[in-house]
Symmetry: C3
Subunit: 142 residues, 3 copies
């Protein structure tokens, strides 16, 4: 799991949007986004829960198409979801004290990832201050 | 499962929004939206996983209200979620190569569905190019 | 579970946004938002399903950090998600007849909650009518 909170806060700050929302999207079908308290325990727990609910297996229908053993990766990523929107106030993310933004790699091999970031809202002295920026989220074996 | 990717791309293209996001919403409490690689294997796997995690049963509390045997439909739809937002660039959806937009009918009988589509962002030479359009997503027995 | 539908409709109506979307976000890592048919049966069923899929336990890794027995609360909230976006038309939420907006408290003790509400879209005679408002969602033992 990757902590995207500061990377997204930098993009929001550069956009000079004071009040609005920021939208994050995992481009690709085997990665997901969400919020969680990013501490070592939950970084173990979340992938473990997903692996228990939707275990790796060669029995998924998806295996017929690609034989690459990542059917569960697709299903886990779809369940958690690729899209996350967060409020912005004073050019910062509005998050709880223990709430961070994460990217979870669900695939079975290393991937370069793009998370598209779009800031929507009102900036100082500008009628339109929407931005679209990309960042790469690497991969960590789990 | 229905592939909404091209229908949504047409709406985005007609809106002439170059840069922004498009929001999709399933109107109704027993249908859901998401992204997945839409190939026949995963089209089997996703409903099967949901039916395993939240099986059809007459034992849900919901059965007391309606006696229509679709308690699991409501719960599956709520877990997957009715709302999806996707980035837009150059008047096209930003998606991975194998990533498509789907509507999943979770109910136990045929339904006409409306997916509300709202495009938000910057168009060419216009300060405000937001649109709201609806489309119907039919139903396929699963 | 708390029904936020009317509170959000009031905020949307006050914003005078006719056409657009409203974004809701649970500030904090152990609460979640979604849509469901809010009747007593499903208000029992949804927490029960989550407790079955991700049961309370002292065995989560999260327990090492805090010893407060709410590892499952974090995981349930992350799976359901903190973020929800709903279309707005004629200054009202676009929802199905039986579809309401809920806040689910996943934590093991009473919490004051803030759900940040951001309305984005076109108002009557104004180029920019985005608003950001907060409301408190109390807690109910389940």
């Amino acid at each position: 799991m990757h902590n995207l909170t500061e990377a997204v806060n930098r993009i929001v700050s550069e956009s000079k949007v004071c009040r609005g929302v920021v939208h994050l999207f995992n481009v690709g079908s085997t990665g997901a986004l969400g919020t969680i308290e990013l501490e070592p325990g939950l970084e173990e727990d979340l992938p473990a829960v997903l692996d228990r609910l939707i275990p790796a297996s060669r029995d998924y229908g998806h295996e017929r198409a690609w034989h690459d053993g990542n059917g569960h990766s697709h299903l886990q990523a779809t369940l958690l979801g690729p899209s996350l929107t967060i409020p912005v106030k004073d050019a910062r993310l509005v998050l709880g004290t223990w709430q961070q933004v994460f990217h979870l790699e669900c695939d079975v091999r290393a991937r370069r990832r793009t998370v598209a970031v779009t800031v929507i809202g009102e900036g100082p002295g500008t009628a339109d201050s929407r931005k679209a920026v990309s960042l790469n989220a690497g991969w960590k074996e789990r």
